[in-house]
Symmetry: C2
Subunit: 214 residues, 2 copies
DNA sequence: CCACAATATGACAACTGATTCACCTTTCTG
DNA sequence: CAGAAAGGTGAATCAGTTGTCATATTGTGG
């Protein structure tokens, strides 16, 4: 049972490209890997699928990567950046945190439909290199919890365990993205967001809460 | 690109056991498969790992299963039943739906910590046979949405899109189970449930909602 | 206690797919 | 333009798997 003997967090592969051409080739390989992993799945995708997609020979792959795993790790890192950037861009003009939540979810649903591969690749990382998968969500969760805490201090959100809330919210987005962004579009993204927004603002309980303990 | 050529929903393998002994062996293999998939992951686990764990020879595996995939499908089906049964048992005496939600989440967190493999196996099914994974959650979501609709008609929950809510709630449980049940226990299950219960009852918005549009 | 049907065995053939490596091509530099 | 360094090639190698099959064991009804 040899878990994962080698590997540093920052291994850039055997040959970091020294010229623009090399960098382009490396990028092509990475893009092809994303497509191959996304459509075939990590394990079903072979190096041949990647190199064929990139239009290079097998050997070229090993000029830039030590193996399949490293490729996946790099993709996961990229995706983290891209998703964050996308969300940040769309949440920008929000009035308050609840508004930001709605916009964020909307943006996420859109991102998922436009980048269906991202989803699969990220999820599959869970079984290839659990650590990097954890890092991804832990980082996301930290940032999220901080945003909520700020909102609490601004009086936009009631106090509560923001870390737990963050994970709950990430889970919601994850499942809604999968179901309504990836699998079926039987409910429009805006309707999904509306339902969630309502739930997040008011909760599910019916009574107008005035009886706060006498 | 040959996706999935054969396979019926109800293929019981080449030899359904005819005696009690055979049934026992089959069950042992299934249990060993769960452990192997859970600890090593589906693709890393070989038939040898399974048969070794079950204490039988390689060939015996093929007396009861056509291959690895069939084993996984069967496990996923089992897990669906077991999780449901567990939740049903623990939600039983609930006062209302919101109470049931809290109890359900609590039970789920407990189940995850006690059956860490279930989690991995189920999630990995997503990449081995996406259809069965979808079925699992679609069935769960349907049942969930119905429960919510009933609660609405009983006046325990405000009206809204119950299907979307169901997926949101499943996502929450999923992520909270992963983070607080599987990865780290830095927050007690009861505290997790409390935070979520609060959010589900009252939402995140601070104002006591009396201003329902004049 | 015998015969036969279900079970179980494990060596092995056939195959898959990752990685290596000796060699070729392109590009840049002095 | 010569030479070197970076980039690129793909056939060959190598490790590990799956699934088969001829054979052995178990145990049960007659």
């Amino acid at each position: 049972m040899s878990s994962t003997p080698q590997r540093k967090a920052t291994d850039a592969g055997p040959g970091t490209p020294k010229t623009a051409r090399g960098a382009r080739t490396r990028a092509r390989i990475l893009k092809a890997a994303e497509e191959a992993f996304g459509t075939l799945g990590y394990y079903r995708a072979g190096i041949t699928d990647i190199t064929r997609g990139a239009g290079v020979a097998q050997g070229t792959f090993y000029c830039y990567f030590t193996g399949k795993e490293e490729t996946l790790r790099e993709l996961v890192r990229d995706m983290g950046h891209k998703v964050r950037a996308h969300l940040a861009r769309h949440v920008d003009g929000a009035q308050d945190r609840l508004d930001a939540e709605a916009r964020g979810l909307r943006a996420f649903l859109g991102y998922v439909t436009e980048n269906p591969w991202m989803y699969r690749v990220l999820q599959e990382a869970q079984f290839v290199d659990e650590e990097i998968y954890q890092e991804y969500y832990e980082a996301f969760g930290d940032a999220y919890a901080t945003l909520l805490a700020d909102a609490v201090s601004r009086g936009e959100v009631r106090p509560g365990d923001n870390r737990v809330r963050a994970w709950a919210l990430m889970g919601m987005s994850h499942f809604l993205g999968m179901r309504y962004g990836l699998w079926q579009s039987d409910v429009s993204p805006d309707d999904v967001v509306a339902a969630v927004d309502d739930m997040l603002r008011l909760g599910l309980a019916p009574q107008p809460r005035s009886d706060d303990k006498p």
